[in-house]
């Protein structure tokens, strides 16, 4: 197992945001974590990246217990993240933002940069534009590209579709599929459940800090409870959307 979380609890002050969640991500998978606003999805990713301490439970990565490893060292181990809200450095150019992804490692970056610019030709056209002046979709590309520059074994994506027009969402999801095809494991957090379930191999449903269900993504797409709660009960629409644009 690449990433293995067991019975993880996380607090903000006295509030328990994660009440003992367990999840696993295997090499090569796309796993999605869906759930309503406030369910604890972002907290889960932040804790995996070491931005929040755990109160109890453990995180294992490549068989090694990393629960106590400081966040900045987890990047070098191979945990990359594109955070919620994108976290683009506003006063740095697109190119500088991408280089920040490689801050912690040494060596020649030209091949990695080339690969990122290949995935996101739009960024290649805007290398010298400041991050703060870019559109939401472009900032999302910067955030994903920058996370790829960390050379992650597992890429954590926190709501990459947030605030984007449907066409752009489809484009971003295609790129996530391509990143996975090239060998990077993906843990995708989404509120846009229908599209995430169509992309992912497996899924976890999070509710108020607990795992409600976990199953192959395709099964959840047809699960009446999940459909009622997260897919607006209407399965046809999102599929049309993807076939239209994908």
């Amino acid at each position: 197992m690449l990433l293995e979380i067991s019975d993880m609890r996380v607090h903000y002050g006295k509030i328990e945001a994660l009440k003992g969640i367990s999840l696993e991500v295997d090499e090569g998978e796309i796993v999605t974590l869906i759930g309503a606003n406030g369910a604890g999805k972002t907290t889960t990713l932040k804790t995996i990246s070491g931005l929040r301490p755990v109160s109890s439970g453990s995180i294992r990565f490549q068989g090694k217990n990393i629960t106590k490893v400081p966040g900045h060292k987890r990047v070098l181990l191979g945990i990359g993240q594109s955070p919620e809200g994108r976290g683009v450095f506003p006063g740095m150019t697109v190119h500088e933002n991408l280089l920040m992804g490689a801050y912690a490692r040494k060596g020649d970056l030209s091949k990695d940069l080339e690969e990122v610019y290949g995935l996101f030709p739009r960024l290649a056209e805007r290398k010298t534009q400041f991050g703060g002046t870019m559109s939401g979709g472009e900032q999302q590309m910067v955030a994903i590209g920058r996370a790829l520059m960390t050379k992650p074994r597992v890429l954590l994506l926190d709501e990459p579709s947030m605030g984007l027009a449907p066409l752009l969402v489809a484009q971003i999801f295609d790129i996530i599929r391509e990143i996975n095809r090239r060998g990077t494991t993906v843990l995708l957090v989404e509120q846009n459940a229908s599209q995430a379930l169509q992309l992912a191999h497996r899924a976890y449903v999070l509710e108020t800090g607990q795992v409600l269900k976990s199953a192959p993504a395709a099964d959840l797409l047809n699960d009446p409870e999940v459909r009622a709660a997260y897919l607006g009960g209407d399965l046809g629409q999102p599929e049309e959307e993807t076939s239209e644009t994908g």
Binding site: K46, S49, G50, L51, P70, G71, H72, K73, V75, L76, G80, Q81, P83, G87, V88, F89, P90, G91, M92, E96, L99, M100, G101, Y103, A104, R105, F130, G132, R146, A147, T150
Partner: protein, 321 residues
């Protein structure tokens, strides 16, 4: 009145730039720490004070007893610079470690950090007045002004119109600007500088880039401390005295300079420092030099009321530093 102004404009301008250059160097420390931690490091004024005393220690240890010139002067100034930078830089790092880091780790409020800063400031002043100055500087009355040997010749180097330009003025202005340029390069071009900017712009994302925030904070305090150390040394060269609370008024003026230029903005600190030095010295022509401090703090209040982001705005965060 106008005649006075015309008469004294030149000398006031030189005096204002020399004073402003020192404000600017101190302001850098406030602005860098604010940029990275959103903390007003109130005890930064004492880091400046420690810079003056570090310089003084070298002068006393070497037993310098007359103004120097040529190679001897250059060597002495270099040695003084290194000692003042290391002294103040190390003090700033210790301050962060003891007074701020524990609070930060506990997630305390910014108010708690500010109160800790004020406490540290008073602690350091009293430590010097009661312990360090009487015992290490052999000066039983720890609250007196402590004079030092004149290090360089102060005969005017040249005269512009009716304005004499003295070597100490020139050294202060040139050294400050050189330090600013070096710092600007460091922050904008070096790898650590990128880490500092990233941390200032988004600390959580910075961790996701593999940046060790604690290390960046330590370096930021050290570098800001070095600048204050140089400022302390330049002050000593110019005024040939220091005091346990020498940092108090200068610190607040430097803070004013940082706010004037836009706190968090390195180039703003330079601009704010020079502007403040000029404003108070030009103003002194009209109101008398006793009014300098009043003028400086009126400026602070007025900016805070009408343009709290200062002349250039918070730029470590939103644009290039």
């Amino acid at each position: 009145m106008l005649n006075d102004f015309i008469d004294q404009f030149g000398p006031s301008t030189v005096g204002g730039l020399a004073a402003g250059a020192i404000y600017a160097l101190i302001a850098l420390g406030y602005t860098m720490v604010y940029g990275v931690l959103r903390l007003i490091n109130f005890a930064h004024s004492e880091i400046f004070m420690i810079g003056t005393f570090s310089g003084l220690a070298v002068i006393m240890t070497l037993g310098v007893s007359e103004p120097q010139s040529g190679i001897a002067l250059i060597g002495l100034l270099l040695l003084l610079s290194v000692v003042a930078m290391v002294g103040s830089g190390a003090a700033a790092v210790a301050l962060e470690q003891i007074a701020y880091r524990p609070l930060r780790k506990k997630g305390s409020s910014r108010l708690a950090a500010l109160i800790s800063a004020i406490g540290a400031s008073i602690f350091l002043q009293e430590l010097f007045a009661i312990v360090v100055i009487p015992h290490l500087y052999d000066h039983p009355r720890g609250r007196d002004n402590i004079g030092t040997q004149q290090l360089l010749d102060k005969e005017p180097l040249f005269t512009l119109g009716n304005t004499d330009v003295r070597p100490d003025h020139l050294i202060v202005i040139v050294a400050s600007i050189a330090m600013m340029i070096a710092l600007d390069f460091f922050v904008n071009r070096s790898r650590i500088g990128r880490g500092i900017r990233a941390t200032a712009q988004n600390p959580e994302t910075a961790v996701l880039m593999g940046i060790n925030i604690d290390r960046i904070v330590r370096i930021t305090f050290f570098v800001g401390g070095c600048m204050a150390g140089i400022a302390g040394l330049l002050y000593l060269l110019q005024f040939e005295e220091t005091r346990y609370n020498i940092g108090f008024v200068l610190g607040i003026k430097a803070f004013t300079a940082a706010v004037l230029g836009g706190i968090g903005n390195l180039r703003g600190a330079l601009l704010g420092g020079l502007a403040l030095g000029l404003i108070e010295n030009w103003g002194a022509i009209f109101f008398g030099s006793a009014w300098k401090d009043v003028i400086a703090f009126t400026v602070l209040v007025v900016i805070l009321m009408f343009r709290p982001t200062g002349i250039l705005g918070e730029s470590l965060q939103v644009a290039r530093a």
